[in-house]
């Protein structure tokens, strides 16, 4: 950490963009005073518990709810058939591969005749207490006709068992982008070196600290509307989608996301329980609430990742990559949720990494399986892409016996400040990849590490040192509506903000963003304090309540600062412009002669006669008769902002591991991350985001696996079996950064919410493979658990009996 001593505000309470600030959100959360959805007191609320399918694939013959109905405290028990009349529409898919046609099955909040994964809702109990509801759940008897389950995407491809009869196949789509096919084939034909690898992106559980929770409350004033509290990343979009599917008119529905304890994409979704609570509150005319168990969370929430990646590189004799060819197999799970089919596609254009690759081809086939749906999870497609290309680049380095840092250096796209058209569709905004690599090597002490490694190897130690590098470029700032549409988006995202001066000179900002751990209240106040020159403490930031905030689509994909924050910056400019006109009028000066410093206007050269913007706000509100002709009272402005392009953060991560050959245990001894997220608004939050992302990526590399048996039963739904790493499992991180401003928005920011999770997994696995290279190991699958590593070593030994025998 560089900053824990925070110089707060200056003497006037002003803070600047770029200044380190502790988050104002944290104190109530750390003190336990912050309220989350399940904490919100709702008098008279009923509790819903959900009976979930215990089979991965089965027909429901019958459901006997008689005993549950008469269980003490039970108000109602419903099956899917009982509730069939509650739904007016199907939940849409918001990103589909384009132009490939998407075959998608219909699905509803609760199964009616068939279940397609363990965890799918089949019945609900509503009772006076949660415990009563849980007791009654045990009394429901479901008669299933169990069908064979499809649990691997490879099996799904065979259509041995077709999950959705109406589709006739498990294949949802095949999306193919071949930029000049002849050149790809020619590059492979002419290659001096080729690399061919297969990687498995295991399914991961998002495992936010706060599980999901919902509470639907009929308007207590009898207005016929509803308030829905939900632990969601997208209050506004949720309202729209619930209106479309449950049929409560959108204007009659208020959605509030109180404090939300993390999401990582998992809460970028509409879930069955939201529809169910709302429909049941409508039906029973009472508030209905539900909170997800921790073990329920592992089966009822979307999963992340879930891909099989075949990647090939061709390179010339200098190690210059001449072509990349990729075949992806995406495991969509049982059906499509909002972004499910789009996740592999989002990663598609990043399989050439940050390298200048002239020829590129990718084919993505995605299939349905009898597992929970996959969807956006921290990085959503880009961690997967980065993993494949960075593992392959290391494979090329190994093939050529070249230093992995050098091979990257030779292939980086040269620096650019305003646009670089890549081989695959996307025009990058700005990039300068080599300095990030250099800084990471420097911080890691790379040369020294390689020396230590050589010494260690020479000594015959069974504790192998490994160093792994991963360079990445990714995409954030989801918004540019034209590009979204071109990429298969079925909706638009933009940024919204409103700035209102109150008559006392204080400010209320409302924003379309939905922070759930990112610190927007701090950051947005910081932008306003810097731009308007008003005290930081005087700025209140309101969000995540559809009755208060302007329509903001969602917080995800590291988009908020570069889109919603940029919208706020644009709004501040509008406020300044209006205030300036007023100041010029009051000072009887030309606008062009005024300057604006630290919140006050004065005529250039006469700083003594200054009009503070707060005073102008008061004038605009309560002395409106003084305004120039035609000016509206009040100092306020709003913006809906659609940026010209995405943003493309990048960086280099380096992992240092020690692998115990005897046990297979991997100890992560050092981790260096150099990330370029463009301009940094608040370095404290940047570091916090990187730390969290790193642990998540390290988790995927070494610990996490949503494991299933051959029948589709979850083996790791609880946190005793699903291993989320804690601070004790990671070293103290060494962070660095470079700053390459983005031309895509007025703040010059790029986004940093996912970078940590993108560079870390390949760096760690590259390090593990590097450590074990002398034993003949060329790949280790994730998570690199001790048993997996040990077995990999055994297999390498068996395959190459004359590889160095390490002896005791």
């Amino acid at each position: 950490m560089t900053t824990t001593e925070i110089p707060a505000a200056d003497g006037k309470g002003l803070v600047k963009i770029g200044q380190p600030l502790l988050r104002r959100e944290d104190e109530p959360i750390l003190r336990g005073e912050a309220r989350f959805t399940d904490d919100v007191p709702i008098p008279g609320a009923l509790y819903m518990e959900v009976l979930r399918s215990s089979h991965a694939h089965a027909r429901i013959r019958s459901i006997d709810t008689d005993a549950a109905r008469t269980s003490p405290g039970v108000v109602a028990v419903y099956t899917g058939a009982d509730l069939a009349g509650e739904w007016v529409g199907q939940i849409p898919v918001l990103i589909a591969p384009d132009p490939a046609p998407l075959l998608a099955p219909r699905w509803g909040p609760i199964a009616t005749d068939k279940v397609n994964y363990v965890g799918e809702p089949v019945a609900v109990v509503v009772a006076e207490t949660r415990a009563r509801a849980a007791d009654a759940l045990e009394a429901i008897v479901v008669d299933y006709d169990v069908l064979p389950a499809v649990v691997s995407p490879e099996d799904a491809c065979t259509d041995r068992v077709v999950i959705h009869d109406e589709l006739g196949t498990n294949k949802a789509y095949t999306w193919e982008v071949v930029i000049t096919p002849e050149s790809v084939d020619a590059a492979f034909a002419d290659a001096a070196y080729t690399v061919k690898q297969r990687h498995i992106q295991q399914r991961c559980l998002p495992a936010p600290m706060e599980t999901r929770a919902v509470c639907a409350v009929p308007d207590p004033m009898g207005g016929g509307g509803f308030t829905l509290y939900s632990s969601t990343q997208m209050a506004h979009l949720l309202r729209t989608l619930l209106a479309m599917t449950v049929g409560v008119p959108e204007q009659k529905l208020r959605v509030i996301a109180p404090n939300v304890g993390g999401g990582f994409g998992s809460k970028l979704q509409t879930y069955p329980e939201e529809s169910l609570c709302l429909a049941l509150a409508r039906r029973l005319k009472r508030p209905v609430r539900w909170v997800e168990d921790r073990s329920e969370c592992g089966v009822a929430m979307i999963h992340g990742r879930g891909q099989v990646q075949d990647i090939e590189l061709a390179a010339d004799s200098d190690g210059k990559i001449t072509a990349v060819r990729v075949h992806l197999l995406g495991d969509l799970g049982a059906h499509c949720k909002l972004f499910t089919p789009g996740i592999p596609v989002i990663g598609g254009p990043f399989y050439h990494g940050c390298y200048d690759v002239p020829a590129f081809a990718i084919t993505i086939t995605s299939v349905y399986t009898n597992l929970p749906p996959t969807d956006a999870y921290r990085g959503a497609g880009r961690p997967e892409a980065t993993y494949a290309i960075e593992r392959a680049v290391d494979g090329l380095a190994a093939e050529m016996n070249m230093d992995p840092a050098e091979i990257r250096r030779r292939n980086f796209i040269p620096p650019f400040e305003n646009g670089h058209q890549t081989v695959c569709m996307v025009p990058f905004d700005s990039g300068n990849y080599e300095p990030a690599l250099d800084q990471a090597l420097e911080l890691a002490g790379y040369e020294q590490l390689r020396k230590e490694q050589a010494d260690r190897r020479a000594s015959g130690s069974t504790k192998h040192l490994g160093v792994g590098i991963a360079s990445y470029v990714e995409v954030c700032g989801y918004a540019p509506s034209r590009m979204m549409a071109a990429g298969g988006g079925k909706f638009s995202l933009w940024g919204t903000s409103v700035v209102r001066f109150l008559p006392t000179g204080k400010i209320v900002v409302t924003t379309g963003s939905h922070p759930h751990g990112q610190g927007h209240e701090t950051s947005w106040a910081q932008i306003v304090s810097d731009r308007l020159g008003v005290p930081y403490e005087d700025v209140e930031v309101l969000h995540s309540d559809t009755a208060i905030a302007p329509y903001g689509v969602l917080t995800g994909g590291s988009r908020s600062l570069s889109v919603e924050g940029a919208a706020l910056s644009v709004t501040c400019d509008k406020v300044i412009a209006k205030a300036k006109t007023l100041a010029a009028h009051l000072l009887e000066a030309a606008e062009g002669d005024l300057e604006f410093n630290d919140g006050s206007f004065n005529v250039k050269g006469t700083p003594s006669r200054a009009l503070p913007i707060t005073g102008l706000a008061h004038t605009a509100a309560f002395d409106a008769h003084l305004l120039p002709e035609g000016m509206e009272p009040n100092l306020s402005a709003e913006t809906t902002w659609d940026p010209p392009n995405f943003t493309f953060p990048f960086g280099t991560h380096i992992a240092v591991v020690e692998v115990d050959e005897e046990t297979g245990a991997v100890a992560l001894v050092k981790f260096v991350a150099v990330d370029d997220c463009g301009n940094q608004l608040n370095p404290v939050i940047v570091e916090g985001q990187v730390h969290g992302g790193l642990v998540q990526g390290i988790g995927q590399a070494l610990f996490e696996l949503a494991a299933y048996d051959d029948d589709g039963n979850p083996l790791s739904p609880t946190l005793a079996d699903y291993l989320v790493p804690s601070a004790a499992e990671v070293p103290s991180f060494t962070l660095g950064s470079t700053v390459t401003p983005s031309p895509s928005n007025p703040l010059g920011t790029k986004g940093v919410g996912e970078s940590g999770a993108i560079g870390s997994a390949p760096a760690v696995i590259n390090a593990v493979v590097d450590a074990l290279a002398p034993l003949g190991v060329t790949n280790v699958i994730m998570p690199a658990s001790p048993m997996t590593v040990w077995r990999t070593i055994q297999a390498a030994r068996a395959a190459a009996p004359n590889a160095k025998e390490n002896g005791r």
Binding site: D293, S726, A728, W790
Partner: protein, 279 residues
């Protein structure tokens, strides 16, 4: 994760606890730190109809020097073992292992008696007590009896305690100055051992294994080999002899057998002071 309904009794003495157990029979369960029992109840894998809370019996929380032995009250929390001076001097392995269990919350709630009575093969303290050849003291309606550790663990989550008996004390022979080692192989700091090994070289060598079968067990073949003069490496090769290790996501039986061998060797080497292995 909501348990089934149950009645709750707070016992003010061992006698009260034992009579509550006698009255309610098989349906009753003692509640100590709750860190094994409550998770089982929340998952509805256990549904006792009466919980007899012995967590407030402060007079069963102690570490006493009784001459050749150290006596530990069954309700002593791990944290109190970890920081106990007497243990650090005369039975450092007990203090050390207490500090390796779970996380700080678990160590402040969980009791040594609860861990032994639960009899989980994956728990740490049973192996330590086995390696040390301890004695367990139980109280029931028919009075008090002592049970050698070697006879205490009978089957999967099953001990020699009768349903109406309460474990009150653990007696462990002092090991002042003896060589010892505890090898806990796990993926995260708060995890249970995938395989663990407790070794104490105190004239005779005691070696016990964690998570290598359905009960906590001694590595008898290793102990015998050492007693008849085998080298550490040779003895360690017998680590998995006669074991039936479980299979789970972390390890299959073959890998567990391999780990047992490596860890027994490391434990014995460390106990000998031959190497300072990681602890």
């Amino acid at each position: 994760m909501i348990s089934a309904a149950f009645d709750y009794v707070s016992a003010r003495s061992v006698d009260e606890a034992v009579s509550a157990l006698t009255e309610h029979g098989d349906d009753a369960k003692l509640l100590a730190g709750g860190h094994s029992l409550i998770p089982l109840m929340k998952l509805r894998l256990a549904s006792p109809s009466v919980l007899v809370d012995v967590g407030r019996l402060r007079d069963l929380s102690y570490v006493r020097d009784t001459g050749d032995e150290i006596a530990i009250g069954a309700l002593t929390r791990y944290r109190d073992l970890e920081i106990n001076d007497r243990l650090q001097a005369d039975l450092p392995i007990v203090a050390h292992v207490a500090g390796l269990i779970g996380d700080p919350q678990v160590r402040h709630r969980g009791t040594i008696g609860g861990s032994l009575a639960h009899g989980d093969a994956a728990s740490d303290m049973p192996a330590v007590v086995l390696a040390l050849d301890g004695t367990l003291v139980a109280r029931g309606p028919r009075g008090e009896r002592t049970i050698p550790a070697a006879e205490f663990f009978c089957g999967f989550l099953e001990t020699a305690l009768a349903p109406d008996e309460m474990l009150t004390e653990i007696r462990l022979p002092k090991a002042t100055g003896a060589g010892w080692s505890y090898q806990k192989f796990r993926r995260r700091a708060l995890d249970w051992a995938i395989v663990g090994v407790a070794a104490v070289r105190n004239g005779r060598t005691g070696v016990a294994l964690v998570n290598m079968g359905s009960t906590p067990i001694r590595a008898s073949a290793v102990e015998r080999a050492l007693a008849s003069g085998s080298s550490i490496a040779d003895a360690a090769r017998l680590a998995a002899d006669g074991t039936e290790p479980p299979s789970d996501l972390n390890a299959d039986p073959e890998y567990r057998r391999h780990l047992a061998e490596v860890l027994v060797r490391r434990a014995l080497e460390e106990a000998d002071g031959a190497v300072t292995a990681q602890r």
